[in-house]
């Protein structure tokens, strides 16, 4: 079993109604499994905010034990690198540049 401490920041906090929670997942679970679990708890709106075409949306930043999920396997990133895993899910505002 994997213990996951999940921290929510940004717009996603309103969707989940909390800023922090603990989730227990089967051994070998990935980020994709965690997000599926969270979608089951919080509904389609959660998935719509975080994912686009089954992958992390541009403005969704997920950090696993301080590493950016995109850089450690994306949806396939493993959650058993430290116990408990700390997953920060941040939904950032819109784009960066342009006048």
């Amino acid at each position: 079993m994997i213990q996951c401490k999940v921290i929510f920041a940004g717009l996603i906090k309103r969707v989940v109604g909390t800023s922090e929670m603990t989730v227990t997942l089967p051994a070998g679970s990935t980020l994709g499994d965690l997000l599926a679990d969270l979608t089951a708890r919080f509904g389609q709106e959660f998935e719509d905010k975080i994912l686009l075409n089954g992958d992390l949306a541009n403005h969704a930043v997920v950090m696993i034990d301080g590493d950016y999920a995109r850089e450690v396997g994306g949806m396939q990133a493993r959650l058993d690198r430290q116990t408990p895993a700390q997953v920060e899910i941040v939904l950032l505002g819109p784009p960066l540049l342009g006048g």
Partner: protein, 857 residues
Amino acid sequence: MAVALPMAGVTEDVWIPTACDMCYNGCTVQVHRVDGVAVKIEGIPGVGPNYGKTCAKGLSALMNVYSPNRVQAPMVRTNPQKGVGVDPGWKEISWDEALDLFASKIKAAMDKDPRSILTHTFDRYTYSVAKAFSTAVGSPNVTMGSAGIFCGNGTHPVAFTLTASNEIHDDLKYCNHLLMFGASAGFVGGHNAMGYSVEMQDARQRGMKLTVVDPVLNYAASHADEWIPIRPGTDAAFALAMMREWVIVQDHYDKTFLKRHTNATYLVGADGRYIRDKATNKPLVGIAATGAALPFDQAPSDEAALEGTFTVDGVQATPAFVVFKKHLEPYTAEYASKVTSVPAATITRVAHEVVEAASIGQTIQLEGDTYPLRTAAISWYRGISAHRHAMASGMLMGQLNMLLGAVDVPGGVLNSSSMGPTWRPNLDPDGFIYPGNPLAGHMKPALPRRKVSAPETLELQELFPTSVYARAMLWLGLLEGDKFGLPYKCEVLVTSRGNIMQTSGDPDTMAKAMKTIGFIVSLNPFEDETAAFADLLLPDQHSLERLTPLVGNPNNFTNAASVDESGTWNFQQPVVKVVEKARNWGEVLIDVAFRAGIGPDMNTALNAACHITGEYQLKRDQKYTWEDFSDRWTKSTVGADHGLDYFRKNGYLKDEARLAKYAYPLIHHGGRVPLYLEHFLDAGVAVKAYTDSRDIEWDVSDYSAVMDFQPCLTEKQAPAQFDMWLVNQKLPFMAGTYSAENPLLMDLAKRNSKVFNIGINRATAARKGIVDGDEIWIETPIGKKVKGIARLTEGIHPECASAPGMFGRTTAGNKDAIGKDGSRGVHFNNLVQFTLDRMDTVSAALDSCVKIKISKA
């Protein structure tokens, strides 16, 4: 650098490297400080991105620092009445009182609905902190720049489409003919104004031909080989006629590029959608020789057909290019001539000249690879974006480059916002590139396809699935959000280093929108039109007083796009003692977050927004000084050896020279760019479904896979006596509203007849009995009327009058900027109708085509 040179009677004489902040570009400069007083600004010889050159604005920045007109202390409004010219009754308070008030308003708004907090800035460098603040409070509302007039609506989405980067840059190293629409790039205007000017002059001396299409003889046109005056808002017709010339008349365009690097060969059915492979869902292409249809990634690109008819599972299909070609048919040079006022012969001649100059089929060897060499390109910017059909016009500019094959190859238009190894383009399932750079990862390119949903942002971004932003819609969200299903009202606006009252469309409309906001905090060095609506006015630091990490950041924003050019990292460091009580607005927002009890989320959000990694990440439960945060951000981005200490000592860091594979990635990334905008079709259907469901009239005609010319509404509706257009023009020595605070720049402005006066074609003026220096009335069809002073010129389209964008001020620290009867110019935006029917419902551009009548006052 920064070495003290002891001289008799002088205790200090140093040059301190930093980055300029008088416009968007962040040039590397050095400041001469003698006995604690900064006395001179210069470039650092050879150092980028400005190659050691500094413009009039940057050179004069000290006048903004030492201006006696600066906001001196935090102030709170005592007069509840807000409006232009209404005295707010400012009362000075302490920083502590101010920040507690600020934090209490944030907390109250968060309790009501965190989305009701809007954060705005036009500080490109510290923007990430605004984004983090917005994220920490739990709001999607963070915005940048103007609130109406933008230059990028018709540029960034096209840049993403062509290069998976939000900016493009013409490869002046190899280009032999540049055709420029509505821009002054290379003439101390636009992005990397100085660096690009250096490159432009080198290219011009090398013999590169420059043709400029613009209603005004702008700074680029002044020096071009040819200026082609055009009727405002009609560039799309010009572009379509050029493409018709290439594709239908001459059969001269880059077919290899289209086959290998676009979706021109993708088969489409009668409904305009791709015909997809049943097993893989991949779009199919037709093979000319066999008549077979294969998934695009399983067919040899060069064997895929651009023309013909195919039958797939009994369904008729044609390559997308057939549709593209057919839609060009009506756009003859004669038709375009009627629309644009440009002679048909000129349009066909320019079309020939450009395609001849493109050297289609030629290649060049660079670093062991063979690249297509396309020595002609089409450049465009704000002039194209300033229209209701900005997306269509911009996409057509992109398509001109695609037909030349001049995209991300030597001599063409290049990706420039994200360079080097971090660019990492990704491919969507249909084979198209989109950005993968973590620093650009929060952008909103049109691909992969985005969903349309009920608006949750004040800018109604959710209704703009193919645009990069929808910032000009802010007024609509503020005033009529409920009509669009927005579930809250704006409670707090935090605005810094920007003047959205002056940069929006019609300020009367914007004033109404501003008055709907519960509480406005303005962090600003000067009391401007926006501050006039603020409840709390906080003195912001000048760039020469503040510490700002990563001003120049080649992974994020650069225009050193050509091969062998280097991006430059730089930063801002305090050069002079902070004036009075001014504070860095970024630091203030972090302070407020902690006071509001959301410090841990602010740290997490700063990590995410700034992409701070590993050991440099901020821990949730600690409060960091601005300096510590800046050092972590810098080291995380540039490396352990390049923290603040490095930059303090050296000022800047030159990146490695750009390799050919990064400058010209087309042949390397394996992705395609969509010539045929199939993804626009479903986007339009989804937008229509939502707006219909709420009984909102919303134009979706530009959600088309092929772009057409449509005249702007002004043209269709204005009564006949409104026989002229008002257009605006740029000046190389003025930018935004900030430069009007500078008396040296204002003195230059007064000495230049183009700044405060209204340019009118000499023949037109003669017909109307107007002579040089006459006071004139300018009136719009909806009854807006302003006085101006006529300047007669040969350098403007006879149907146009011109005024620079940022004058006719009503509130400014520098009272000299506020004139009477047009003596300090007219406020162009004041005449721009700020209504939904004047806006591009695809790119969110505000139409700057203003019909006017002029008469002697």
